[in-house]
């Protein structure tokens, strides 16, 4: 497909090449590959390893979806997108979904014609300062110099926060996390603000992590969600329910280790049976086969496993589950029932 377009356009007249076919699902199946828009480099969420393979929490979500749809978690092509290009890339069909720490907001959902189908991570904007500054609350930051990543919701939140508290600040907008981190650690700004998860990830990588504190105030709601194009409901359903399957798996204790065993024969819990395809025809309703959820879970484990492997307490990033714990454990992650 791509090749025909590549060459067709060389002849200038063939701009009508590669017309996208009817649905995203058909496209993905025909291509045999899931195009996943993600971050070019954000520790724990999406970054290429030494072999050039992208790893991270956001990428793991894509892998689960690829496993469900295509049967192979490695059939994911991660397209690194900047915060400026991500929405255009999605609406133009360059990627099938965004799994790129994208905040679900009203205007993005409506005005930008996107659909947010599942909050993969409940986040909020926080502040990180050096301990030596002696600051214990964000309310004490009047007059501070603040590093922000530009092109995100954070700069609007920041303006609102300081304005509503009657404080002034000096914004230092930066292109990406790596640049912001460098400026912060060199002391060009007093405060670094971004999503709390990003702060934790950044703090974890400092040689002197204990010299930095994340202030208690969380000034915004940042539900980071999986995003698809508006209007293709079948595809939105697949993404949404694959994500829900990962949540449900954690709820019922289905892990990558035991999923094959549990899927081998129907068990006692009918919902697990429906989820794993040993009972009913849930897969067919999505346009997939009955083992879709099994493959999704086997790819990187359930939601909790993905969390722990990439950003959890045992990793250098060391995020606690917090709001992202299951609803049964006091968090917000809650999957609708599979029936």
């Amino acid at each position: 497909m791509k090749k025909s377009v590549f060459l067709g356009t060389l002849s200038a007249a063939a701009l009508l090449g590669g017309i996208a076919s009817a649905t995203t699902l058909e496209d993905v199946k025909a291509r045999g590959e899931l195009l996943c828009g993600s971050n070019a480099g954000l520790a724990g969420f999406s970054a290429p390893d030494a072999n050039g393979v992208y790893q991270g929490f956001d990428v793991a979500m894509c892998r689960a979806i690829a496993a469900a749809v295509l049967g192979d978690p490695m059939k994911v092509k991660v397209i690194p997108l900047s915060s400026e290009t991500r929405f255009t890339a999605l609406s133009a069909g360059e990627v099938d979904l965004l799994s790129r720490t994208t905040t679900w907001t009203y205007s993005r959902d409506t005005d930008l014609k996107l659909d947010f189908v599942g909050t993969s991570y409940y986040d909020g904007q926080g502040f990180m300062v050096k301990k030596s500054l002696g600051v214990s609350s964000a309310k004490e930051l009047d007059g501070a110099t603040v590093c922000i990543q530009t092109g995100t919701t954070t700069e609007l939140n920041l303006a609102d926060f300081f304005k509503s508290n009657g404080m002034t600040y000096e914004p230092v907008p930066l292109k990406d996390n790596a640049e912001a981190e460098q400026q912060y650690s060199a002391g060009s700004c007093d405060v670094y603000t971004t999503d709390a998860s990003g702060l934790a990830a950044t703090r974890a990588t400092f040689a002197d992590a204990s010299e930095h504190v994340i202030l208690p105030e969380i000034i915004s709601k940042e539900p980071l969600a999986l995003t698809v194009r508006h209007g293709d409901n079948e595809w939105a359903d697949i993404v949404k329910w694959t994500f829900n399957a990962l949540l449900t798996a954690e709820e019922f204790g289905i892990t990558s280790a035991n999923v094959a065993e549990q899927a081998a024969a129907p068990g006692t819990n009918p919902e697990i049976n429906r989820l794993l395809g040993t009972e009913g025809e849930l897969g067919a309703m999505l346009g997939l086969d009955k083992d879709w959820a099994v493959r999704a879970i086997a790819a990187g484990g359930n939601y909790g496993e993905i969390f722990e492997a990439n950003i959890g307490a045992s990793t250098p990033i060391g995020l606690s589950r917090g709001l992202n714990a299951l609803w049964t454990q006091g968090g917000l992650q809650y999957a609708p029932p599979f029936r």
């Binding site: 377009v5 070019a40 480099g41 970054a47 991660v78 290009t85 790596a178 460098q182």
Partner: protein
């Protein structure tokens, strides 16, 4: 009269110049300490050099080349050089240099870009050193080395030896008979490079090249009947071929004789490979466009001329980065709904347009430098416009413009770093990605030093080549 004692009969041997006028002392005095101002300048210069060395020197000296992470690096440096000492951690480069150079290209397929690069040098030789005929030996050696090197370590020993023998034979043959065929090789090189880099079936580039052959054939056949119809046929038939039949024909041929390489997506291109692909294809495709624009700008046809002026000034007037944003954000608005195509291709299109505007001005300079007599001579021979351009004007104008073209290319190559602003994996973006990794987070200077050094080596040698050419061309015209 014999007494002319005031005239010396035997010459005294020349005395040695005084010690202060020769040797190192004199050189230092004359060059460094001739006046007070000069002394001040010298001292300043020495101080600047000392400052630079004193800052960077120790850091470079205490470098570490093997470590798994920045943390490990720091520990090694502290262990070797003492507490609190800092040094360069080049281990990151030892681990990740392939990514900076090849991006995410599969490691076992590195031979493909390398082979492409060497073939590119071969293809460029007749253009770059068109005056010397001695290059044929270089071609032979390069060819043999390329084929041999690309197979080395990737195939069984028997295949390696066979290919080695074949490569040597081909090289020798090229040395003896080569030069006249090299031009043809230069012409088919773009298709070959495309096939090597992106992979897929070999028949697609072949059928695309066939389009040009068809066009030429149509021109020869039809222009015998009617000149204008010939031109139209030469344009329309290849386009029809490319749009309608090319792909199908390639599929059929692939079905009959399957020859294909592993197909790779554009997302796997990165680092200097990406920069080179964008830079080289930008300059290659923009050359014909630039020539047309330059001619259009000099044309007597008012509409054509004003269009060309608007095009050139318009694209020279905006920063490349906005054009890249257009490529990544807006191109989809300007194309029929549902059209999607590769982001690298979109960037190449915009870069081509941008470079064409600059090249048009370079070539216009070349055209302006030609003496008026050349045009008049062409006219007096009865050549029509296109023939005059093709046979008389362009060969000379392009020759004069080569340094300018090389300069544009260097600028373009450096500007490819801007694609990191639209998240393509150019060297700068790769550096960011590496820094986002747990192990290498916090590393800074080493990576930028490496990237800068590679850019420097490439651009510096290009500019030296361009100066060499300039000198050479100068003598031609005096």
């Amino acid at each position: 009269m014999s007494d002319a004692s005031y005239v010396r009969e035997a010459m005294l041997p020349a005395q040695k110049p005084p010690a202060s006028e020769t040797g190192v002392v004199h050189w230092v005095r004359a060059n460094l300490l001739s006046t007070w101002g000069n002394i001040v300048l010298t001292l300043l210069a020495v101080y600047v050099v000392y400052l630079i060395l004193a800052t960077i020197g120790p850091w470079l000296l205490r470098s570490v080349w093997t470590a798994g992470s920045l943390q490990e690096c720091r520990e090694i440096i502290e262990a070797t050089w003492g507490e609190g000492k800092r040094g360069a951690c080049f281990a990151v480069i030892a681990e990740r240099w392939q990514q900076i150079i090849f991006g995410f290209y599969p490691r076992e397929l590195y031979w493909r870009p390398i082979l492409t690069l060497v073939l590119m040098l071969v293809a460029l030789l007749p253009i770059l050193f068109y005056e010397t005929r001695r290059f044929s030996w270089w071609v032979g050696v390069l060819f043999a080395a390329a084929l041999f090197g690309s197979v080395w370590g990737h195939a069984s020993p028997v295949v390696t030896v066979l290919v080695g023998i074949a490569a040597v034979c081909l090289g020798v043959w090229l040395c003896v008979r080569g030069p006249q065929y090299l031009m043809w090789f230069s012409l088919i090189f773009p298709a070959a490079a495309f096939w090597l880099l992106w992979g897929g079936t070999v028949w697609l580039p072949v059928t695309i090249l066939l389009g040009f052959v068809l066009g030429y054939g149509a021109y020869r056949l039809v222009s015998a009947l009617n000149g204008l119809a010939g031109v139209i046929a030469a344009v329309v038939i290849p386009i029809l071929w490319w749009v309608l039949l090319c792909r199908a024909a390639a599929d059929v041929l692939q079905g009959i004789v399957p020859i294909a390489l592993v197909e790779l997506g554009s997302d796997q291109f990165g680092g200097f490979l990406l920069s080179t692909v964008i830079g080289v294809s930008g300059i290659t495709f923009s050359l014909p466009l630039g020539i047309l624009l330059a001619l259009g700008r000099q044309s007597d046809l008012l509409i054509v001329k004003s269009f060309c002026v608007a095009f050139i000034e318009g694209f020279r007037g905006v920063p490349l980065i906005t054009l890249l944003f257009v490529a990544s954000l807006l191109l989809n608005y300007f194309l029929p709904p549902g059209t999607t195509f590769d982001v690298i291709l979109r960037v190449i299109i915009m870069v081509t347009i941008f470079a064409a505007a600059y090249l048009a001005e370079v070539i216009r300079g070349g055209l302006a430098a030609l003496p008026r007599g050349q045009y008049e001579a062409a006219d007096s021979l009865g050549l029509d416009y296109w023939k005059a351009q093709r046979l008389i004007i362009m060969p000379q104008a392009l020759k004069i413009s080569i340094p300018g073209i090389v300069g544009t290319f260097i600028g373009l190559f450096k500007d490819t770093t801007l694609v990191s602003f639209i998240s393509l994996s150019d060297p700068m973006q790769i550096v960011s990605s590496i820094r986002a990794n747990q192990e290498w987070n916090g590393i800074y200077w080493e990576l930028f030093l490496f990237v800068g050094l590679l850019f420097f080596l490439f651009c510096f040698s290009m500019s030296r080549y361009s100066m060499y050419l300039e000198r050479k061309l100068k003598t031609d015209h005096r």
